[in-house]
């Protein structure tokens, strides 16, 4: 394939509950360091949550932070970190040819809840409703804040795709590069979800909100005693470029996105569908022109819900039945469910495997649920392989959206 049709990752900026750059995040994953803690959630009291501790003012003024949103703040941090990591200094870059594509699970809940809360604190005085509410809650807001901050004048928008958002943002960035719409894409996903009580309350109402006296043990996908999701914030934004452009500027290349797929269950609002999940993974592998045995690592979506983990385990067992060389891990035991950020963030956590050939473990599996048993499931301890060449990253979401992204080790 022509280098102008091959899309590579040249920079990564991220914030996770257990790390504010790829190096910190990767170390935390290898060392089973949790980023989940107890937080006070409006009306509900103490809940386990994954909160990030990056410096909000590293790239943004206090005034504009106040005017914008937490989602925007996370996006601005991640985009600037990605830019710095990529080595691009804007010199010679046509900013009309730069795009920002961010996956989100939801947007606007935080600000709307805050406004309603303030109104109730002030005798229902609706005139206190902020003039900033509209720009804060339009669905393109986090991506738009990035363009305002960085002076980018190409396209920007978000991809509303539930918890598949991180993968979907990357796929959109890749497609726009292949189409020739832009020359540089900031793509990935972000989440501010722990700032809204409604998401906690809704998962609680579904019987799917994780709880544990020790918050670091609350998120336990695949474990027999798992009891739901830990809601987390975070972000991961990549700089994506055509291989030809990356080579021309002698860029560091993390890997090449060689396959992807998005499909729909068309079966239920919240319950997953393992048949469609298998189809999604196989579609991505086919698009990449690979055999199933070529995949070295599969990162599961594995959120820690009873039904979700069983369904995906069944799907991974089936999808990789013919491969005894594929290893499987998951990330939410460490960081909880970073919602729209999860796909891009979790993929980033596995990318260093191309260099160290190590599969990071899933965390908090004290007793593996027999229904979640998968050949070569990596948990509690890292596993060293001879070589890691292909990583497949799953990210699924409500309303039955499934996504898979495959990244290939880049060998220059």
């Amino acid at each position: 394939m022509n280098d102008s049709q091959r899309i590579v990752i040249t920079g990564i900026g991220l914030t996770a509950p257990n790390g504010n750059n790829l190096s910190e995040f990767r170390s935390a994953l290898l060392e089973n360091k949790s980023g989940v803690r107890h937080a006070e959630i409006r009306y509900m009291g103490t809940q386990a949550a994954g909160l990030c501790e990056f410096d909000e003012f590293k790239y943004q003024s206090k005034k504009l932070r106040r005017r914008g949103t937490r989602a925007g703040s996370i996006s601005i941090y991640c985009a600037n970190e990605a830019l710095a990591d990529s080595g691009i200094n804007w010199e010679g870059v046509d900013k009309t040819r730069v795009g920002v594509y961010l996956g989100i699970t939801e947007h606007g809940n935080v600000e709307t809840e805050n406004e309603i809360f303030e109104m109730h604190q002030n005798n229902l005085d609706w005139k206190l409703w902020s003039p900033h509410h509209n720009p804060r809650t339009v669905a393109n807001s986090p991506a738009g804040e990035v363009t305002l901050n960085m002076g980018i004048t190409g396209p920007h928008y978000t991809l509303g795709s539930a918890c598949a958002g991180g993968n979907v943002g990357l796929i959109q960035g890749l497609q726009q590069l292949i189409l020739g719409e832009v020359d540089l894409a900031f793509a990935g996903g972000i989440s501010e979800s722990p700032q809204t009580f409604g998401i906690f309350a809704a998962f609680a109402a579904q019987g799917a909100l994780a709880h544990h006296a020790d918050p670091t043990l609350a998120s336990r996908p695949m474990d027999k005693k798992r009891n739901g999701i830990v809601i987390s914030e975070g972000g991961a934004i990549y700089t994506l470029e055509r291989l030809s452009d990356a080579k021309a500027r002698n860029a560091k290349i993390y890997g090449e996105i060689v396959g992807y797929a998005i499909n729909s269950d068309a079966s239920d609002f919240v319950n997953p569908n393992s048949t469609r999940q298998v189809e999604c993974m196989h579609k991505a592998i086919k698009r990449a022109g690979l055999e199933i045995r070529d995949i070295d690592i599969v990162n599961m979506h594995a959120t820690g819900t009873g039904a979700g983990d069983i369904s995906e385990s069944q799907a991974v067992r089936e999808a990789f039945a013919v491969s005894d060389k594929t290893y499987v891990n998951f990330t939410k035991g460490h960081i909880g469910h970073a919602m729209g950020a999860a796909g891009a963030l979790e993929l980033a956590g596995n990318l260093p495997s191309f260099d160290d050939n190590t599969v990071h473990p899933g965390m908090n599996v004290t007793e593996l649920d027999p229904d979640c048993a998968i050949r070569n499931l990596v948990y509690e301890k890292p596993v060293k392989l001879n070589e890691v060449k292909y990583i497949l990253n799953n990210s699924f979401g409500m309303l039955g959206i499934n996504s898979a992204v495959i990244v290939k080790k880049y060998i220059g």
């Binding site: 003024s61 206090k62 005034k63 106040r66 005017r67 303030e118 002030n122 005085d125 005139k127 206190l128 902020s130 003039p131 900033h132």
Partner: protein, 81 residues
């Protein structure tokens, strides 16, 4: 309430809305926008905070009264006293 106290109320609100700005050396006679990086949305925030914190309503036609610290004090003093 004294004129000095009204002035401080306005300064406190501006400090919250535009925390990057230095409010210590402001010329009370000069337009606030000439001295600080404030835009129209910031003035809407000032109006909102006056309503929330001090129950003062500033109708849209009176917004020009908030141009300088002196005009703010002159306009708000009777409302806050």
């Amino acid at each position: 309430m004294t004129a000095q106290e009204v002035r401080q109320i306005v300064i406190d609100i501006i400090s919250d809305i535009a925390p990057d700005e230095d409010t210590s050396g402001l010329d009370d006679a000069k337009s606030l926008r000439e001295q600080m990086d404030l835009d129209s949305m910031d003035f809407l925030d000032i109006v909102m905070e006056l309503r929330k914190r001090h129950k003062v309503e500033v109708p849209q036609e009176d917004y020009p009264q908030l141009a300088s610290l002196n005009s703010c004090v002159a306009y708000l003093l009777p409302k806050l006293s």
